[in-house]
């Protein structure tokens, strides 16, 4: 298992390196002129780091959520967090708000995500317990509400406003810059560390509340801590670059195929795998049709889904 983890880390580093060199034009890192240096350090590097952070947040959140909700279909977006974020972000974009300067849209998205997460959390809390089914249903319910509001807003906005909002919602990494990274890093690192440190409890929770209890874990308390860490990671990820599909849902399953379902490994490995996949998807999305850029979320699903289906055919396990 250790060796496989090291392999994943090496793959991630390799992909990061490649993502700096390749792009619409190839940069030779040993002979760089001024322009290449600028592109490498102030455009590609922050962008790839943001992609890795977002992918890590989504991968780890997916692994944790599938565990606490005991549902292989769970992904970070199922709790409605992303739809709340999209709603506020679209409001900012279509309404042309600039209350937080160039940070307006990410900050609005973060507020939307945290607010939605809190509502879902409150709905999940009942009779001194924190119930997975309630969380799931509250999330789905809120998602529908927010999606409807989002569509309402889109249908009364101009085509121009709608297109801008759509581009953001599909996921956009092109505006990534160094100044956004510290904020993202704090939340993603905190989320990954908190959830990895509760991995043992998560293992027990997957087997059932009674089992967890008999091992000395308080199921409701553990779920609550894990839920908070997922909320923070997802909020940070959506605010960094919009919604990216596939990673949160399928990366944890792929990691289970390769490494196993022990949460202690699954959480960090899903984080690394998610980071690697999004970094490579973003590389493809900005290089394949230069000078145009495609939404990275489209690429993650196009390269990821067939591979996932192939694995599903070959291996016969699919559990949480």
């Amino acid at each position: 298992m250790k060796i496989r983890m090291i392999i994943i880390i090496l793959i991630l580093m390799l992909i990061f390196g490649i993502s700096l060199i390749l792009g619409p034009r190839i940069i030779n890192p040993f002979f760089m002129d001024e322009i290449s240096k600028e592109i490498l350090f102030s455009i590609r590097a922050p962008r790839s780091i943001v992609a890795i952070l977002m992918g890590m947040a989504l991968g780890a959140s997916g692994a944790v959520l599938q565990g606490i909700l005991r549902n292989p279909l769970a992904d970070p977006y199922i709790l409605g967090i992303s739809s709340g974020a999209s709603l506020l972000a679209a409001l900012g974009i279509i309404g042309g708000m600039t209350i937080f300067g160039t940070f307006t849209v990410p900050v609005l998205a973060f507020i939307g995500a945290v607010a939605t997460g809190s509502i879902v959390g409150m709905m999940g809390w009942r009779k001194g317990g924190f119930w997975p089914e309630r969380l799931l249903l509250a999330g789905v319910g809120l998602s529908f509400l927010f999606s409807a509001l989002l569509m309402l807003m889109m249908s009364i906005s101009t085509d121009e406003g709608m297109r801008k909002a759509m581009l953001w919602i599909f996921g956009d990494l092109s505006m990534s810059e160094w100044s956004r990274i510290p904020y993202g890093l704090i939340f993603v690192a905190a989320g990954v560390v908190i959830s990895a440190s509760r991995a043992k409890a998560l293992n027990a929770l997957i087997l059932g509340d009674e089992f967890a209890h008999s091992l000395g874990f308080s199921p409701h308390r553990e779920r609550f801590i894990l839920f908070i860490s997922v909320g923070l990671m997802t909020a940070a990820s959506v605010s960094l670059g919009g919604m990216i599909g596939f990673i949160g849902l399928l990366i944890p399953h792929m990691i289970r195929f390769f490494i196993g379902s022990d949460s202690r490994v699954l959480i960090p490995a899903s984080a690394l795998g998610g980071g690697a996949l999004l970094c490579i998807a973003d590389l493809i999305s900005r290089s394949i049709l230069p000078p145009m850029e495609l939404p990275a979320g489209v690429i993650t699903a196009i390269i990821g889904s067939p591979y996932f289906l192939y694995l599903l055919r070959r291996k016969n396990v699919l559990s949480i």
Binding site: R25, M97, V105, S155, L167, M175, P291, M292, E293
Partner: protein, 280 residues
């Protein structure tokens, strides 16, 4: 599939044969399904005959007072029918084709404006004049436009060709690509659109490529959010700080004239040409 192609051909032939021929008498009640149509109708002096416009028709000022029939991509069929129009004018750029078919099936006459780029504009207006029974006025407007455009084209020979980028929206970076009215305008004004090689008319553009292509002039469309476009643009301009246009303070915020193909389009070209001439 074959059926579809035949249907499509039939429709095209149908349009090209019959649309101009419907010019028998001047319609009294006109509905416009696009802001650009509304502007042209006003410029042709048909203000009193317009009975309905879209909720996005905001120019000229009087257009806002007209009855609204919904959006451009989702106009309300009921609202259109209840206004009992003699003719409904629409464009191929934004109005759904199905809506036109629905109107025809309800025996409502339509006029589809086919021009989508500046070189086709004058001819489009002439044909529209024919369909609306105001040939002379339309001819005069078209002639006016052609003269202004020719004048701009003559002036440009004296300008050294500059590399130009027109930013439609700064975050994420959307620019005017080939086939857009803005791209036409840059060429007419004597510039070279650095985004001319991309594959769609309003592509999401690579920031790296802008740095590589090093435009001499950057235009930023003020669009609808006129007040804060400077604020929103700060991010992208910071990232493009090494580009000649930004270094030499050749970044200009321009009006939304070029977003609609209509009577104000020429003014939009003149605006770009004006800024480009200063740079000689």
């Amino acid at each position: 599939m074959k059926k579809l192609i035949i249907l499509f051909l039939l429709f095209t032939i149908h349009y090209s044969l019959f649309t101009p021929a419907q010019a028998a008498e001047a319609p009294k009640r006109i509905i416009s399904l696009a802001p650009s149509m509304t502007e042209i109708l006003f410029a042709l002096g048909l203000e009193d005959r317009i009975v309905g416009v879209t909720s996005f028709c905001d120019f000229p000022e009087e257009a806002k007072k007209k009855q609204k029939i919904g959006g451009m991509s989702n106009p309300s069929l009921e609202a259109v029918v209840s206004l009992k129009p003699d003719i409904v004018t629409m464009t191929t750029d934004g109005n759904p084709k199905e809506f036109e078919e629905r109107l025809r099936s309800l025996k409502i006459k339509t006029y589809v404006f086919r021009a989508r780029q500046i070189p086709e504009l004058a001819q489009g207006i002439r044909e529209m004049g024919l369909a609306l029974g105001i040939k002379e006025k339309a001819d005069a407007l078209a002639k006016d436009m052609e003269t202004s455009i020719d004048k701009l084209k003559q002036r440009r020979s004296s300008i050294k060709k500059k590399k130009v980028l027109f930013i439609v929206w700064p975050d994420p970076l959307i620019v005017a690509g080939p086939g857009s009215i803005t791209d036409n305008a840059i060429t007419i004004a004597g510039g070279e659109n650095i985004a001319a090689e991309s594959k769609s008319s309003y592509p999401k553009y690579s920031i790296e490529e802008v740095i590589h292509q090093a435009p001499d002039i950057i235009f930023i469309g003020r669009g609808m959010s006129q007040e804060n476009i400077r604020e929103v643009s700060k991010g992208i301009l910071k990232r493009l700080k090494s580009v000649p246009a930004v270094k030499n303070k050749k970044v200009f915020y321009v009006s939304d004239y070029l977003y609609r193909l209509g009577p104000r389009t020429v003014k939009g070209v003149e605006e770009l040409a004006g800024y480009m001439e200063q740079q000689r």
